[in-house]
Subunit: 344 residues, 2 copies
């Protein structure tokens, strides 16, 4: 039960621990015969070098932290998958933590991790952090020598690599798609108006209208609290009754599906009289009826990219302190909630 150490092996063969260490690391200094017997023995006994001893010695753990606001979100799960894939390939393990959208937990977690537990961290800001604009904990961990890579919800002012999507362009494209398929009365439903990604999508929506020469109707901008997706339908029903709209762009799947249901209930035919596009990664889009056309976000690729950047930074010798911002483009995935767009 007691784990086998290099010392035990040394005793067993009556040699010194450094001989064993070198033998196990296949050093040229050690004779072939002793190397062989020691390696064979170690293998048989299933010897594994102690992780903590190595980390202590090397001053690095080959562990990266990932800190996300919420694990029940398909987007973050996808990002995680991408990170895991790359980390695994490069021999890194992952400590994963949840901030629960809380600034305090985010800060505590970062604090807890910056004691040599991890070599670097990939994170997406908690909502509260972004809203309060409180970034000192990020600065602290960077000052502690722990590189950060941020994705999706990133803090502009923090000097670190950032992996984001083209939220603005995504929204522009969504508007244009709808417009080109004959929808001009386009509402914008946002559950993210307090976050930067939400604002960017909003601005993209405005830009899209402009490009398509559609006048802005203020009433078409609908902000809902994201708390309770169960309420989305109730919130939207009276609005849709009042408003004369023929399309919706939503910042997330749930509200898009709610919008679609309400529209159908009110007698619209989707996608002909009423089209819907949502920002999304999700499973919901593929299971709704009709299936949802989406501005799709490539979470896995974002995660993989984040991991690559972080690991590069960790393993690069030259201490070049440049930081990059990478944009992973969204795609419009046409499903059944919009009319097909033929390029003319």
């Amino acid at each position: 039960m007691k784990k086998l150490t290099i010392k035990d092996i040394a005793n067993h063969f009556g040699v010194s621990i450094s001989t064993v260490s070198k033998a196990l690391n296949d050093s040229y200094e050690i004779s072939v015969s002793t190397k062989e017997k020691i390696q064979k023995f170690a293998k048989e006994k299933n010897y594994k070098p102690n992780f903590n001893a190595l980390s202590l010695k090397n001053r690095k753990t080959k562990i990266i932290g990932i800190l996300i606001p919420n694990m029940l979100n398909y987007f973050f799960a996808q990002v995680f998958k991408g990170v895991e894939k790359v980390a695994n390939e490069k021999g890194y393990k992952i400590i994963s933590c949840i901030s629960n959208e809380s600034l305090e937990k985010e800060a505590e977690t970062l604090e807890m991790l910056s004691n040599g537990s991890i070599d670097g961290v990939i994170l997406s800001m908690a909502e509260e952090t972004e809203v309060k604009n409180e970034y000192t904990h990020f600065k602290n961990t960077i000052n502690d020598g722990i590189p950060i890579v941020m994705f999706d919800r990133v803090a502009e002012s923090i000097p670190c690599d950032k992996i984001i999507t083209n939220d603005f362009d995504g929204a522009v494209n969504a508007v244009q798609h709808l417009s080109k398929t004959g929808h001009k009365k386009i509402a914008f439903i946002s559950t993210l108006s307090h976050l930067n990604v939400g604002r960017l999508r909003h601005q993209g929506y405005l830009k899209g209208l402009e490009k398509e020469n559609i006048a802005l109707n203020i009433d078409y901008i609908i902000n809902i609290k994201e708390d309770d997706y169960k309420e989305y339908e109730n919130v939207l029903t009276p609005i849709f009754e009042k408003l004369d709209i023929d399309a919706v762009i939503a910042t997330d799947e749930s509200s898009a599906i709610a919008a679609m249901k309400v529209a159908i209930r009110q007698g619209y035919k989707v996608p002909d009289d009423f089209s819907v596009i949502a920002f999304s990664n999700g499973i919901l889009a593929r299971h709704s009826s009709p299936k949802l056309t989406t501005v799709s976000q490539h979470g896995e690729q974002m995660g993989a990219t984040a991991a690559e950047f972080l690991i590069n930074k960790l393993e690069s010798t030259n201490a070049e302190e440049t930081t990059e911002t990478i944009v992973i483009k969204t795609d419009i995935v046409e499903r059944k909630s919009t009319k097909p767009l033929f390029l003319n």
Copy 2:
């Protein structure tokens, strides 16, 4: 940038490192005045004891591993959330790994983790592992002194704590629910026939029929490969055309939703002429139209329970080697794909 160590502090005050160590640990051996100044200094300089040094010394990391087949599955994400919550409360961190349903990756991962990286591990078996019945890697890690807690997909023969659901009873209840609301021609759609949880649900289905005095119709048992949920509708369409059924129990959400769509397309009214119940935790259930009645699995609670058991084992001094199996009961959550059940 270079991290502050106990040695640095000792030098700064011209005292020995053991004095500093004791001072920081608030030892009675150290005078109040030196304790104060050392603690104050440490705090100001944001001193953090090195994690790896502590782990090496204590022979424990306060890290638990979690090894799940797939992160994009809402059930596993929920379990993770439960684990995270408890771990966090008790001061443990989590290293999370994905087996991707692969025996080899599962074994490799366990191997990689049993070098002192973690104190214990929570896992759900990869599909391949369960199918091939290849459990030596579990035995190895247990022999390495790393306790395992398994959940959901558990290996009977391995001596460890296990957290499972009452799949059998869940299926019985589902059948009875349908029967009592007037549905007797109940099909069973399984995407998990190769897994034990799938078999248990299957047996529960049979038992439910028996209890309700419904004769078994072999054709009503429909096994589909889970690979491609996109194909579910195509697979089910001809079957439903041929079969005379008025209800479906599905082992997962996706196939349930596919079944519902196909039924609706074929002119059935859900839930009146055709009811659907699915084993599920998911978001899909709450967003489909109509919303799906489910045998609901409480993943978060399973995760929390698993973490509690593991941490208990890790922190209990007495080496009692008993293992327990805990059943977290499912509930039927009535939504709109079944008729309401009034107890008579």
